[in-house]
Amino acid sequence: MILLHVENLQTQFKLGKETIRAVNGVSFSIAEGEILGIVGESGCGKTVTSLSIMQLIEAPGHIMGGEVIFHDDGKQIDLLKLSDKELESILGSRIAMIFQDPKTSLNPVLTIGFQIAEIFRVHRKLSKPDARVKAIELLTKVGISGFRFDDYPHEFSGGMRQRVMIAMAIACEPRLLIADEPTTALDVTIQAQILNLILKFKNELGMSVIIITHDLGVIAQLADQVAVMYAGKIVEMAGVRDIFERPQHPYTQALVASIPRIGFEGKRLTTIEGVPPRLHEPISGCSFSPRCRVRIENCARETPDLKEIFPQQSAACFVAQSETFSLSRS
């Protein structure tokens, strides 16, 4: 069962005369109970994609086109066509989001208890005492003592604040949780705790999760499906094992090969020469072709679409799509 379908999403930022095509025709689906990982390097558009789904794009950014279809109780809702009022009833309760920096997402002058209880008062219309009881219950669930209800965000460490954010996100038992680099600011032992917490609630509530990260380790540990983004587009989409074991797009291949791994000590790391393109001008052809080692003539002229290479594994690459390439690799 599909929970969310994004079709040809286009988000641009207009800066003076320049137009930055941050998300340039992104399409994907996420099934119920599935974890989709979106991975890519800075500036590839992974965060803008998630903010576009949540309609959190502010000027000078604009969603120029596309559809974001949310399947909720048998209804199909295009989030991009809803009024602010209608959106309010979905965001935060049916779809929730947690961000990289929990410090900037919490209000510093309100106690965390108040901020969690507020969700129950707004979305569930609970009375103040009832909301308090619910909030304390929730705090305990994410591993924070209820005694800390009246503490302010600055009295918590980064990992604890991220726990508070998770509590707020799952307060209304959403169908979809979008986690944008949820552990990037955290130490590795705390990261492990937070990732496990997300997994625990995913299983308990049966929700779907979109996890956005630059860390292929996090992807390998958590995701079922993976979308690899480069320069505003998805260049490869596949199950997590296929991404790591037989990546098809040259960018995915290089990305997987460039991570230092334990036991790799003597070897050299694969690198990708050059830098990602600026997104100010329209790019002709494949955006990765200037850095690509296997490019052919066609790559600079035409833009490849995502096409299935193996069942459930698609890549936007002419070379990968041509049979000879697959044969020479096997």
């Binding site: 590795v188 705390i190 390998a220 460039s258 991570i259 230092p260 334990i262 694969t270 690198t271």
Partner: protein
Amino acid sequence: MSQAILQINQLTKIFTARRGFFGTKKIENVAVNEVSFEIQKGETLGLVGESGCGKSTLGLTILRLYEADHGSILFDSKDITTADAQSLKLIRKEMQMIFQDPFAALDPRLTIEQILSEPLEIHQIGTKTERTKIAAELLEKVGLASEDLTRFPSQFSGGQQQRIVIARALALKPRLIICDEPVSSLDVSVQAQILNLLRDLQDEFGLSYLFISHNLAVTAFMSHRIGVMYLGKLVEIGTSSQITAAPRHPYTKELLAAMPEPDPSKREINTQFKGEPDEITERPKGCVFYKHCQVAREKCETDQPKLRVMDKNSQVACHFAD
């Protein structure tokens, strides 16, 4: 004659904060707590640990950017712990540093040529034309073009900026470079370029590195030996392969287990580690890891374990490690 380029003995750095009404209460924060190790010529020693474990403070103390409160620093068998400004200037020629954020480390108003010749000017090396020539050579060494000399830092990407920082560190032909999280702000493909570059430069110039990072996989890739720090203490030190394949200290084990491995066939994020790493607020009586340790016994609360030699390449500070 020792082959060690750097030797530190019982190095300790304490920060004091005043708390309470009118600052009457003094709090001692032992950021680096009696740390000893040595780095051989041409060797990379990695230093890993989580935020607040004192690894960066240790790097800065070795460079004498902080004054040590206790212990000694020997550079090339010379004690530099209390060296005066004059001799420090000479020593700093041989000991350079690379920081995490290249943009913050480069003056935005200077051209790349000015940035690279500045250290040469300070040490009165060469004429102006010679310095320009050296700057151009340095740029090419780190994979940039001599045409880039007239450009400004903001015209480069993060990875290129880090290359410029590395070129500047090389300008004075140092023998030891302290790399403090040199790739933490970079994307993974660019990170790989910088790590390869650092290794090539080490081979070419016979450099020694102190490689400080929170990322165990990156550190293992770069280092011959690794030291693990927790709350200001060096809790384990050994070869990279020993630390990653057969860690002895319970904290090193936690660190390894918590690392998300980029391999979907090995799915287990371990969360033995309960709660948060502590903050250093007072001198710990017993083992620094006591509160979080899975195998802690009574002795650990009261007796501080010293680093013990386990075999030729391995030392661990734990009463019960074997």
